[in-house]
Symmetry: C2
Subunit: 200 residues, 2 copies
DNA sequence: GACATATTGTACCTAGCGGTATAGTTTTGG
DNA sequence: CCAAAACTATACCGCTAGGTACAATATGTC
């Protein structure tokens, strides 16, 4: 069997570039020209590799979850570290990412989620965003419910309220980072809030 | 002098409709067709009354500030009411608005602010959004610095941190409301946080 | 080296965008 | 009752959107 011409671009690199464009401009705001230019390929290559704009967006979102969200969640469940310190590590690394000058400010999921209200986002993308956006909240619930230290501190009794507080803070920093407030100020506020938690 | 045909639409009503469209879809996502349809007029009427899309957006943003933001800010400075209660009133009325099923979910300013990163928003609109988005933060600073009760409680010594905490929470609820989390849950978390403030 | 296969570049499709020219309609002053 | 002024409706402008047809270019197998 003949095997044809080799691909001149790396799919993962291109997908990563697409992720950054969506992160910056959202689903509606990112045009195919924006995307393919930053991916370094032209339209037919993109369509043959990824399908269409929606499919590309879905893969970009999954890429974000795997490379940008999951690592921060893991910090919450690291063994041998006090709960409060784990929360701090988690939040600090998120804030650092959300203020990274090499990437779009803020959180991909939070931004694209906010586009859903327009009603102009395709169905599968909408579903994925809705699910993905809840991941941190679920992780916080799980943390406060199951964690040893959380149980001894009886934080599990208010697991829902604690999780919601943390989630609110996560969303708040995402929004503030997006609007360009600098990292030092976010860390300042972050410390105040983590200390204020009645660990709580 | 002859005075011409009378306008068949009310400018304020039309502007209010435009505000709601931008609130729902953002600057980029709101097309002239979306806008003029919901305003109940056609394009030439819109252009003669408001100028162009950017000018309409600016007027819609000012309309939001006057009708949707200012009233909530005033609750912070009401006389004869304890500080904590004023904060609660303020936040409760904001949450109620952000979850109002008659309007787009969340906060107009927070959503449109997040579009700025794209670099596709005209300059004057960008400036206005940046200024407007900081209004609540400035009001919080002023409150913690000047308020009698804040001074006796020595909250003014950490006015910046207190203001930032509150602002983070404001942004967080805006984002969560936008993603469709229901009012009862936001109020639940809200109470926990206000109580947790050392008033603070 | 010829052929099948896969990728690439160009050029194009229709639809919708923001914006406008122009013709028609209603109003009032003289 | 007519003309000037203001508003409305239609139809259109150039441009870009998402998406694709097709020819040109590499790659491998026989």
């Amino acid at each position: 069997m003949a095997s044809g011409r080799k691909k001149l671009f790396d799919e993962k690199t291109a997908l990563n570039a697409a992720m950054n464009v969506f992160w910056q401009k959202g689903y509606v705001g990112a045009s195919l020209t924006d995307l393919t230019t930053r991916m370094g390929i032209n339209k037919p290559s993109m369509y043959s590799a990824f399908g269409n704009k929606e499919a590309l967006f879905i893969k970009a979102t999954q890429c974000y979850i795997e490379t940008k969200l999951t690592p921060h969640v893991e910090l919450l469940f690291q063994e041998g570290i006090p709960l409060k310190q784990r929360l701090k590590n988690h939040m600090m690394s998120i804030v650092t990412m959300q203020c990274d000058p090499e990437q779009a400010k803020g959180c991909f999921l939070t931004f694209c989620q906010s586009e859903l209200v327009s009603g102009d986002i395709p169905e599968k993308a909408e579903q994925l965003l809705k699910e993905a956006d809840l991941i941190p909240l679920q992780m916080y619930c799980k943390l406060f419910e199951d964690d040893e230290e959380s149980i001894t501190l009886e934080l599990n009794k208010n697991s829902q309220a604690n999780a919601l507080s943390l989630y609110t803070f996560l969303k708040g920093t995402a929004s503030m980072a997006r609007s360009g407030i600098d990292k030092s100020q976010l860390e300042y506020g972050l410390n105040a809030i983590i200390e204020g938690i009645k660990i709580h």
